[in-house]
């Protein structure tokens, strides 16, 4: 099997080929770099740390472990792109920030270790907005990532690098983090699947913290089956993460069992204004496809997203101001050289090491937590968060999942929102609710818009509802035609084309 075919395969098909000896782990790992990356990476800039020696060593380890074991190495030789805020021993982990330039963690994040245990190989660190603060991957100290479907547009963010890499074919799987939509929105902009699991379901050990009560590691994939497999491998309690969710992991093996009788909530009040016509058309299309597959639409009213945005930008920034206090130029990262005393070492290191958006959020969070403003801002935002949770619970008493937009628009142009922080924040208006409520959300690609740009819808479920989300995603993936996918060995994917 040649590299030209290998990089197009699903993760499951690729691992099966490695286990059957149809290709080597080395070939599987280098396939993405030899073909699509050589054509795309220079323009798209999805990857910030790549290392041929690390890839080769990873492939060698995978090859060794794959021998003679079918079930034990379900991702044997599968390349995975990992966001740059997930700790990896063999690559720098910089959060795309000057303050962590050249930082190399002495350990792997739990999710990275679990990937490697399953036989997967990390083949690059994905670009991101600095410390995951942004919605376009433009606030990276390494420069922006571009959308492979239109290089003048953003890939979304903050996990834009892994999303774009999975979209153009560098790897069939990617990992990001989702604090307010940072996996789902770039997945939507890049035409791939993006799952934010239930809060606590995937370990946060080794994830550089930003908003600890909100964030989850999320998964990018091109196929629902790959996503189900990766979720099953990564989910589960971790003694090294005190917030990891105890109890049985939701069984997602039924991802291909259909949606007969499933009730999906249809809160049309949310898109009556401020949402692009193409996004609304996509929602109608998805609802129709789910109905044809046997699901039932339940119209309901839902709390407008502006309250979620308001609550989020106080809670998340407050947590960020506390979490980012650890970057002080003492134990790791960059230190400002001209620092005669400890106070100026702190202020200069942090002032010069953090970018504009990160500084803005630290200041906002510090303000919201400071004496005299704590009750008016932080406490009120936390009470609103409780209300938003109740709102989700009430909805899930009436339906099994919610059908929502991912973002109010299709991918926007580079530079369009970087000078207006609030406009950037509002691109997360439909994704933030799931983070505040701690429930799972999944961005599912639809056929592209007339102009060729990716479109998507979001499915949001109750806690531990990942299985339901995957079943509905599968129904949308087939769009009523199972044979189309089966004929092509799950390998069909709407690849971006060169303009």
């Amino acid at each position: 099997m040649s590299g030209a075919e290998l990089w197009r395969l699903s993760a499951r098909a690729l691992a099966a080929a490695v286990r059957a000896g149809e290709c080597t782990a080395e070939e599987a790992v280098s396939a993405g770099w030899e073909d699509p990356a050589q054509e795309w990476e220079g323009d798209v800039h999805a990857i910030v740390h790549a290392d041929r020696a690390a890839r080769t060593a990873g492939a060698a380890a995978a090859a060794l472990s794959a021998r003679g074991t079918d079930e034990a190495r379900p991702l044997a030789g599968v390349p995975v792109v990992v966001k740059d805020n997930l700790c990896t021993r063999d690559y720098p982990t910089t959060c795309c920030s000057r303050i962590l330039e050249d930082y190399r963690p002495p350990y792997d994040a739990t999710v990275v270790r679990r990937l490697r245990d399953a036989g997967a190989v990390v083949t690059g660190k994905g670009n991101m907005d600095e410390f995951a603060m942004g919605s376009s991957t433009e606030y990276s100290c390494y420069g922006p990532t571009r959308n492979p479907y239109d290089l003048s547009r953003v890939p979304g963010g903050s996990s834009g690098g892994p999303a774009a890499a999975v979209a153009y074919g560098l790897a069939p799987l990617g990992l990001g983090t989702d604090t307010g939509g940072s996996v789902r929105q770039p997945a939507a902009f890049c035409g791939v699947l993006g799952l934010k699991p239930t809060y606590g379901r995937l370990s946060r050990y080794g994830v550089v913290a930003f908003g600890s009560s909100l964030e989850q590691v999320g998964i990018f994939a091109r196929h629902t089956g790959d996503l189900a497999l990766a979720y099953a491998l990564l989910a589960g309690e971790d003694p090294f993460d005190a917030t990891s969710r105890p109890g049985a992991v939701p069984d997602v093996s039924g991802w291909d069992t259909g949606v007969e009788g499933l009730r999906f909530g249809w809160p049309a009040n949310l898109w009556r204004e401020g949402v692009d016509a193409e996004v609304v058309a996509g929602l109608e299309e998805a609802a129709g496809a789910l109905e044809r597959a046997g699901a039932r639409r339940v119209p309901l009213d839902f709390l407008p997203g502006e309250y979620s945005v308001a609550s989020y930008y106080l809670v998340a920034t407050a947590e960020a101001s506390s979490n980012l206090a650890r970057f002080d130029g003492v134990r790791y990262g960059r230190r400002h050289e001209a620092s005669p005393d400890l106070h100026s070492l702190y202020t200069r290191t942090r002032g010069s090491g953090f970018g504009r958006e990160v500084r803005r959020r630290i200041l906002l969070g510090t303000y919201a937590l400071s004496a005299g403003y704590y009750d008016a801002y932080y406490l009120e935002a936390q009470r609103a968060r409780a209300r938003i949770r109740l709102e989700h619970q009430a909805a899930f008493a009436r339906c099994d999942l919610l059908l929502l937009p991912v973002a109010p628009s299709l991918p926007f142009r580079l530079g369009e929102k970087t000078e207006e922080p609030l406009a950037m924040y509002l691109s997360d208006i439909f994704t933030i609710g799931a983070n505040l409520a701690g429930v799972p959300g999944l961005s599912v690609p639809l056929p592209p818009a007339a102009g060729g740009l990716p479109r998507a819808v979001q499915l949001v479920g109750p806690e531990d509802g990942e299985g339901l989300l995957l079943r509905a995603a599968r129904a949308l993936e087939m769009r009523g035609d199972r044979s189309r996918l089966e004929r092509r060995n799950e390998a069909e994917f709407a690849w971006p084309s060169r303009r």
Binding site: Y199, F240, R245, Y332, D341, L364, E380, A384, A386, R387
Partner: protein, 99 residues
């Protein structure tokens, strides 16, 4: 409710963040815009909504466990901007040690 230039200076000091003087005005305007927006929360009925004290209602108390994994001193110091083999090195913390 806006935030004034002097308040930005104060908050930056609390956050140990050096901000150039010529940025204070712009940052004050940007933060004010966001603070205006979050006033939307005043319109929300929060009767009976108590702030959650933890991230997940399922996060239980756990028994104490000893973490056997630890970093060797060399590993912990390896990424330090300045170290002397057993300590992190920082500029003087106490002034005028010499009489």
């Amino acid at each position: 409710m806006g935030i004034r230039r002097e308040e930005v200076r104060h908050v930056a000091e609390l956050a140990r963040l050096e901000l150039p003087e010529d940025e204070l005005e712009r940052v004050a305007a940007e933060l004010s815009a966001v603070l205006d927006y979050v006033r939307a929360l005043d319109r929300l009925d929060l009767e009976g909504c108590e702030p959650p004290s933890f991230a997940s209602p399922l996060s239980p108390l756990r028994e104490d466990r000893v973490d056997e994994r630890r970093l060797a001193p060399g590993e912990a110091l390896a990424m330090a901007p300045q170290a002397d083999g057993s300590f992190f090195v920082v500029p003087p913390v106490v002034e005028n040690l010499e009489p």
